[in-house]
Amino acid sequence: MTAPLSLASLHPAPDPRPELIRIEGLNKHYGAFHVLHDIDLSVREGERIVLCGPSGSGKSTLIRCINRLEIAQQGSIRVAGTDLASKGRQADQVRSEIGMVFQHFNLFPHMSVLDNCLLAPMSVRGLSRREAEERARLYLSKVGIESQAHKYPSQLSGGQQQRVAIARALCMKPRIMLFDEPTSALDPEMVAEVLDVLVQLAGTGMTMLCVTHEMGFARQVAERVLFLEGGKIIEDSPPEVFFGQPRTARAQAFLKQILH
């Protein structure tokens, strides 16, 4: 009862997952510098996307726009049909369902690990302390930090801090998780523990956009790899295509540099 393989690969079934993010005509300038150039992008619910490209190509800016840490001058970003730039409860709700993990963790240093995870669920979601703590302990145990809940961030290693940052974002029960070079600031021996958490998260069906140069991770987890250059998405392919036969010379050169 299996369909002919060749046919299936030539005409893949349309992806049944609904569209979650729709970016249209996004343009962003820093003064005279044109960081993002007419970006169009559609992301389905549960899709796992890796963004890569040389520095200054706009990949971080793009995901920071999705979180409204940067505001683009032109274009629109819709999440579940709601324009992120619009006002009102609906847009607030949607914006609060986008989690983000930063290169430098950005934990609140004066709060314990647990309090880092409690602040937003209690003050934004209005959870009681008991509910929030239950949730925080659940996610802290998922990232393997539960036993350190009472410690301050400065008492943890970089890898542990980044795992706390992931748990903190998950405590808001986001529909989308954005990662901005989550392993770039880590010592080499700590990269794996963070990537393990990301792989595990990918397995839960979370919609993920991750800026990273961890190509092994991209191969293993991503459904699509976006390659940016000069503020444009110049490749958008499944990892086996991107790594096997990159179309553009720029991507070929980039891969050559990064894989050797």
């Binding site: 979180n67 409204r68 840490l69 607030d92 914006r95 609060s96 986008i98 989690g99 983000m100 930063f102 430098h104 950005n106 934990l107 609140f108 240093p109 004066h110 709060m111 602040l119 937003a120 003050s123 934004v124 301050y152 961030p153 400065s154 903190r168 974002a169 808001m172």
Partner: protein
């Protein structure tokens, strides 16, 4: 010189009996004057710091002008301006119903000290708020925290740790500068010192004053040390 003679030189029991109680009163007046004006100055200073960092150009300029004036002119001149200058407009204040305030040296001194320390504290707060890493604001925004939550829970505790050293400095300066209140008839520590000296002509009175100021400053220093350790407990 016998020990008794030496003691009489720095802590004469007769003098102590005559002026000891007044010195305690003076000490309390100084403490009250500084505590009230420093606290009110902190509130005003925080608003000024936020105004200087706000988006509004008008607010920025207004706060900058305020700081420029109150840091740039002597505290003594500001006090005289309030007490003798504004205090001479009796009819005007009576019409406004504020004469009770500008009539009293105590209120004028409190106001002058508050306005003056606010300017210095505004600069301390501004610097310490700017010292909080941009990533902290980004993390707060990414978690969709309200602006007030971000300020009170995330930014302020971290900036206070940076501010506490310079704030302590400012407090100690204020304690000593408060001696000029004695020039407008207030019997603070310096006021009672001058009174006691003008009656006894004994220089040890000034020694007492110096030691008592030192004592207040020492109490402040120790308190700040504990506070700093508490605010910075995550760093250890």
């Amino acid at each position: 010189m016998s020990p008794e003679q030496l003691l009489a030189y720095v802590l004469d029991p007769d003098l102590l009996e005559r002026y000891g109680a007044r010195f305690v009163d003076g000490l309390l007046v100084t403490a009250k004057l500084v505590a009230i004006s420093f606290t009110l100055g902190a509130l005003l200073g925080m608003f000024l710091a936020l105004a200087r960092m706000s988006q509004s150009l008008a607010l920025q300029r207004l706060a900058a002008g305020y700081v420029y004036f109150f840091r740039g002119s002597p505290l003594l001149a500001q006090l005289f301006l309030l007490y003798y200058g504004l205090g001479s407009l009796k009819g005007f204040w009576q019409d406004l119903g504020l004469w009770w305030f500008f009539r009293e040296a105590w209120y004028c001194a409190l106001l002058a000290f508050t306005l003056n320390t606010a300017a210095y504290q505004a600069e301390i707060f501004r610097a310490s708020l700017m010292a909080v890493a941009p990533g902290q604001y980004e993390a707060a925004k990414a978690l969709n925290l309200k602006r007030s939550t971000t300020f009170f829970k995330v930014v302020l505790p971290q900036s206070l740790l940076v501010a506490i050293g310079p704030l302590g400095n400012e407090l100690i300066m204020m304690i000593k500068a408060s001696a000029i209140a004695s020039l407008v008839t207030i019997y603070d520590l310096m006021g009672v010192t001058k009174l006691a000296f003008s009656r006894s002509f004994d220089f040890q009175i000034y020694l007492w004053a110096a030691v008592l100021y030192l004592l207040i400053v020492e109490v402040v220093r120790r308190t700040l040390k504990h506070l700093e350790a508490r605010l910075g407990r995550h760093l250890n």
